[in-house]
């Protein structure tokens, strides 16, 4: 299939973010080690990003390289670093690891906020962050027969019927341009905005983010007609199209 011997693909990786507020290498290493010792298997070879955008004062290239080495020595894998885009240090090009774009994730401060006590010199924050890469839509042209199961990481489009006893699942939306007679589960990873659309609603079960409805209930709302299913305030709504 590929002449080049490889394929380039997008992927989502869960990483740990080390947000440095005050640079004091010994303190950082000490407190970080303490955290690691609590759950060593979680941190072992875990990918980590060093973020210096919240630092009050600047940091030199030597200090920064030392920090990378110290963090690596603790068994973590430093995969990149982050900085306030408006305060990029002059030495940014000489760093050996990649500079990553600034975060949009909310940071959760794990340190106790206590104004009477002196604030600790170093606060290690672990922000588990997922970067979402849009997933490709899966398109199926053949009928989905009884006993078959189809799952899509993104949206699922079926240009044929889904037979009774078949099951279609998607992390995103589901479109069925034929009769939907089997089970359709959209937003299976918890996406409450996912919807199901179909030409002829005859489903055994429809579900969005775990909220489901069976055919007995569906019959009283829309049956053998086009419909969409969406979640409104934790309850399923079946709307004729």
């Amino acid at each position: 299939m590929t002449d080049s011997g490889f394929r380039l693909k997008g992927s989502v990786v869960t990483t740990i973010l080390l947000e440095i507020q005050t640079f004091s290498l010994d303190d950082i290493v000490f407190h970080l080690k303490e955290k690691i010792d609590q759950v060593p298997h979680f941190f072992n070879q875990a990918p980590i990003i060093i973020d210096i955008s919240k630092m009050k004062r600047g940091i030199t290239i030597d200090e920064f390289e030392l920090l990378i080495q110290s963090v690596s020595a603790l068994g973590l894998g430093v995969i990149g670093w982050r900085c306030d885009p408006e305060a990029l240090p002059v030495w940014k090009a000489s760093v050996t690891i990649p500079l990553l774009p600034a975060s949009k994730a909310r940071s959760i401060n794990t340190s106790p906020v206590d104004k009477e006590n002196a604030s600790p010199d170093v606060v290690v924050k672990t922000v588990v962050e997922e970067r979402l890469v849009p997933q490709a839509t899966k398109v199926i042209t053949k009928p989905i027969r009884s006993g078959q199961q189809v799952y899509a990481e993104g949206d699922l489009i079926i240009l044929n019927q889904v037979s009774a006893g078949a099951e279609v699942l998607a992390d995103g939306n589901i479109h069925v341009y034929g009769a939907l007679r089997g089970r359709a589960l959209a937003g299976v990873k918890g996406d409450v905005d996912a919807r199901i659309f179909c030409r002829s609603m005859e489903a055994e079960l429809v579900s969005i983010a775990g909220n489901f409805m069976l055919s007995d209930a569906l019959r009283n709302i829309v049956w053998k007609d086009s419909a969409q299913v969406l979640l409104v305030d934790d309850s399923l709504e079946i709307v004729p199209l």
């Binding site: 009928p143 009884s146 078959q148 019927q161 037979s163 006893g165 078949a166 007679r181």
Partner: protein
């Protein structure tokens, strides 16, 4: 190049073997050299329906295991020229069927025959999967009731995912729906699914509708394929189905409730 046709259904007792015998005979009557293979190892029935049970010496499994040659195991039909039967083994089970073994037998048959009809066992397990694995076309036998239709739907899914054609990404198996044991009177009363109900659920082309008929049971007990009974509606409906399989146009018949004649009503028939 021989055409391999599997007669399958998922559900048991819907008329697979009756249909295999009738359709195989019908194709042979048209002058095509045809062999019907019984894949129901352990529950051998085709030889009974074909009336050749007393002539079985060697069987399909013997040929796979090279204990007998094909010409020793093949039984030539006495009524129909160009028709042969390869019986199943009654003493073995489905594990005796191997992909390589079945492939070898089919390749050898393909040199000599134009049509190879594989009479599948019921179920979706090994025996049924072996029967459909090498198929070019499938006749899905269905009764007009929900459980049979559901099982046919399941077997259609297997045809399109577990057959050799599907695995090699070749043109998919050609699908034909054969509706058997159809009773127009009960359809009119709403006790049975209609032709259009079944077509709507399965969404595959209709090859034929065989009406429920006493002639089928009579033919089975006599060991004569019902297609040879040209007096019966079932026999004629099978012949129509064979004609359609050969690419001819035939209108559907025997779908309407027959009005009882005056005399018949008088006699309470």
């Amino acid at each position: 190049m021989a055409k391999i046709i599997v007669v399958t259904s998922g559900k048991g007792g819907v008329g697979k073997t009756t249909s295999s015998a009738a359709i195989g005979t019908g194709i042979a009557l048209k002058g095509h050299k045809t062999v019907i293979i019984d894949f129901d190892v352990g529950l051998r029935n085709l030889d009974l329906i074909m009336g050749c049970e007393r002539r079985v010496v060697y069987d399909f499994v013997n040929v796979i295991n090279k204990e007998a040659t094909l010409s020793q195991a093949l039984i030539k039909d006495k009524r129909t020229k160009d028709l042969f039967i390869l019986p199943a083994s009654q003493t073995r089970d489905k594990d005796a069927l191997t992909v390589e073994g079945v492939q070898g037998v089919l390749e050898e048959l393909a040199k000599e025959f134009e049509y190879i009809i594989c009479d599948s066992p019921a179920g979706i397990e090994k025996g049924a999967q072996m029967a459909l694995y090498f198929a070019d076309a499938a006749i899905v036998v269905t009764n007009p009731e929900v459980s049979s239709v559901r099982d046919s739907d399941r077997i259609l899914g297997i045809l399109q995912s577990k057959s050799k054609r599907a695995e090699e990404g070749r043109e998919p198996i050609e699908e034909h729906l054969l509706l058997t044991r159809y009773h127009p009177g009960r359809v009119a009363l709403g006790e049975m699914l209609s032709v259009s109900d079944v077509e709507d659920i399965l969404a595959i082309p209709l090859l034929g509708v065989i009406p429920e008929s006493e002639a089928v049971l009579k033919a089975s007990n006599q060991g004569t394929p019902v297609i040879l009974d040209t007096e019966s509606e079932a026999g004629l409906a099978y012949m129509d189905a064979v004609d359609r399989l050969m690419g001819e146009e035939r209108p559907l018949r025997f779908l309407e409730v027959q009005k009882k004649g005056f005399i018949k009503r008088l006699l309470g028939g």
